[in-house]
Amino acid sequence: MTTNGWIQIALFCAVVLALVKPLGFYMTRVFGGERTLLSPVLGPVERGLYRVAGLDARQEQTWLGYAGALVVFHVLGFLLLYAILRLQALLPLNPAGQGEVAPDLAFNTSTSFITNTNWQSYGGETTLSYLSQMLGLTHQNFLSAATGIAVAVAMIRGFSRASSRTLGSFWVDVTRATLYVLLPLCVVYALFLVWQGIPQTLGASVDATTLEGAKQSIALGPVASQVAIKMLGTNGGGFFNANAAHPFENPTALSNFVQMVSIFAIGAALTNVFGRMVGDERQGWAILAAMGVLFVAGVAVTYWAEAQGSSVLNGLGLTGGNMEGKETRFGIATSALFAVITTAASCGAVNAMHDSFTALGGLIPLINMQLGEVIVGGVGAGLYGMLIFVLIAIFVAGLMVGRTPEYLGKKIEAKEVKMAMLGILCLPLMMLGFTAVAAVLPAGLAGPANAGPHGFSEILYAYTSAAANNGSAFGGLTANTLFYNSTLGIAMLVGRFFVKIPALAIAGSLAAKKTVPASAGTFPTHGGLFVGLLVGVVLIIGGLTFFPSLALGPVVEHLAGAAGQTFGTGG
């Protein structure tokens, strides 16, 4: 580990923290329907859309109406994307002449993008046309991020309202998240990325003649516009196979830094939106503090493990840490930092290959996702995921002192706790259940590229990433098969909707309740004690559920590596 590495990590945290208040202020106004700087330009567009759609912006929905709209919107998005992928050979903007996408891969990719997972069974430059990338993937990047933000805002309204039947309008929230938050940031951001060297062209790939006289065919495309939303929307699906490790997706140390910040920016700021909307910004900071504790601990472990390097390679006399699968311009510090950020959020973009991380370095990304990506988390998804954990923490605290638990003046009762547990339990069911199935079926065992415990980790990582809607991978796994494409697709759907819909149900139930005034017996939820309790609950629920699976994969691998053992045959 180097001092410079830690300075970069500290600088990252400082920049994210500095953005929380201004972005939080702006988004609070946007979702409150107030005027913003961009209203003169975007207001007419927004009102025009509502007119054609037959919407009254003031008409709100109950939680069921909100959830119904959400489902309808996702189904339509799925059908559209599936059709584009299947028909891409017949559609324009296909200079490389990519053929139609196979049905199982199209199912997997469509599911992956509507659920904000962006798992890459596809290889960007070898499978998809420019039109599929733009009209298909870029647009779902926006909409899946916007729906995540919408659900978070609806859940916040559940806490901030009293005796209310409604949670806002899904259509209005999605439109505003897209037009006022994501789109303007992306235009500026994409141009910054082009300035850093990311291509943005509709031209075909270019054949270069290398200095040694060989032909090198260099894939291109409208990359910058997609990378901007893939980061800001915590989508993570790469334009290229190698994702943000590819020099055309992440050309410089500066582009790398800004990409890391942009993964966290909206998710972190939503905690401030929460604080503002419930009328006490300290509540938002307390939640962000709990996220921060878990985040810094994860970064420290991963950075330490990667700087130490792999015992096996160090045994050959290699020094300098683990550089396998990492890019020179990023080095070990920001590769480790990126890996923790991308799995803490539900981004899943990678600037280094997680599969080649040391056993302990790869353990933290796994744990981050298994905890449900509540450490800042995906845009929106992180906040509502963490609020679910908050309810459990409050419930546990209530049990300890024998008092009906309250949070922000709302009594937390059986219905909320049941829904919260449903949202929490569906993840281990998908992650561990499918891993167990794949670890015994021949179709599952055909996947891993590495032998021994690392092969098991590859399978576990895949289902963890899918159910958590992350999308990063231990990329050695051959996932583009009927078995993996379908089972991973199911895990993504369950991981998305069995968290979102319970979250909306909780919001609906809370919004209907009266607010009870705080009394001397009320547990303060803005202080250190609450932060500690929340961190503890997240770790205990996550840790205990997943510990056995982690012991079989990364922990065994670490111990075997330390003893100098390798697996599989060479060459």
């Binding site: 859309l49 054609v52 759609a53 037959g54 919407l55 339509l76 559209l80 430059e125 647009h139 926006f142 259509w171 439109t175 897209t178 235009v187 994409a190 141009l191 082009v194 850093q196 990311i198 291509p199 943005q200 270019v206 270069a208 003649t209 040694e212 260099i218 910058a224 290229f240 196979n241 490790a245 020099p247 055309f248 140390a253 790398n256 830094f257 390097g309 096996v312 390679l313 050959l316 290699l318 300098g320 396998e324 020179t328 311009r329 080095g331 920001t334 990678v350 599969d355 080649s356 056993a359 590495n450 231990f474 990329g475 050695g476 075997a560 390798t566 697996f567 599989g568 045959t569 060479g570």
Partner: protein
């Protein structure tokens, strides 16, 4: 549900057009006008011929050029399209090795590369980036140590004094951005182009 269908359809179509067509095409237009070379892929021409992109590494094997890092990219086997064969620095199929820390294949590959490099420059410690593949397989850079390590071989192959080659490498080292971000590095293609200006291979 039916009452939801009209807003769903209208918003899906309109937002698709805005975010999936208008946005990328507008960015393409502006980027092409403001940063034309970068938007096109940062290509480098020599004598009117495209020799590569300054951002994309390329495969160097001859002794008279500095070599980049090992690359794990592959291409379809010309004999059997269902199989792949190693094709280092294949810029239309980026990939890492995805070999894990206890992989025997990784350990044997590194051992082989270490032996070759130790024979080439006995006595010097082999920099880690010269025996590890990058994440993309297209890493355009190597560490300054990795460039300096290769100076004796390149100087000998080109019949140049080592000091001149070393001075060239030193002049090509890029520091951390703003003094803190990333790691110091040397762009291999740019270094080799400068080398060709110094002496023909």
């Amino acid at each position: 549900m039916l009452t939801q269908l009209r807003p769903a359809l209208v918003l899906m179509v309109a937002l698709t057009a805005i975010t999936g067509l208008a946005y990328p095409l507008a960015v393409t237009g502006i980027a092409g006008a403001v940063f034309p070379a970068k938007a096109a892929g940062s290509f480098i021409e020599r004598n009117g011929q495209v020799v590569g992109s300054s951002l994309i590494g390329q495969n160097f094997t001859s002794a008279g050029y500095f070599h980049g890092r090992p690359s794990a990219t592959t291409a379809a086997d010309p004999a059997d399209a269902t199989k792949t064969v190693p094709a280092p620095y294949n810029a239309s199929n980026s990939a890492g090795s995805n070999l894990g820390p206890t992989s025997a294949a990784l350990s044997e590959r590194v051992k082989g590369d270490l032996d070759t490099l130790k024979a080439e420059n006995p006595g010097a410690a082999v920099p880690v980036d010269l025996v590890t593949t990058s994440g993309s397989g297209l890493d355009p850079d190597i560490s300054p140590e990795a460039a300096l390590f290769q100076v004796p071989r390149v100087a000998k192959a080109r019949s140049l004094p080592e000091d001149r080659v070393r001075a060239l490498v030193t002049s090509r080292i890029e520091g951390r951005t703003l003094g803190v971000l990333g790691e110091p590095r040397v762009n291999v293609l740019a270094l080799n182009l400068a080398l060709d200006d110094l002496s023909h291979p």
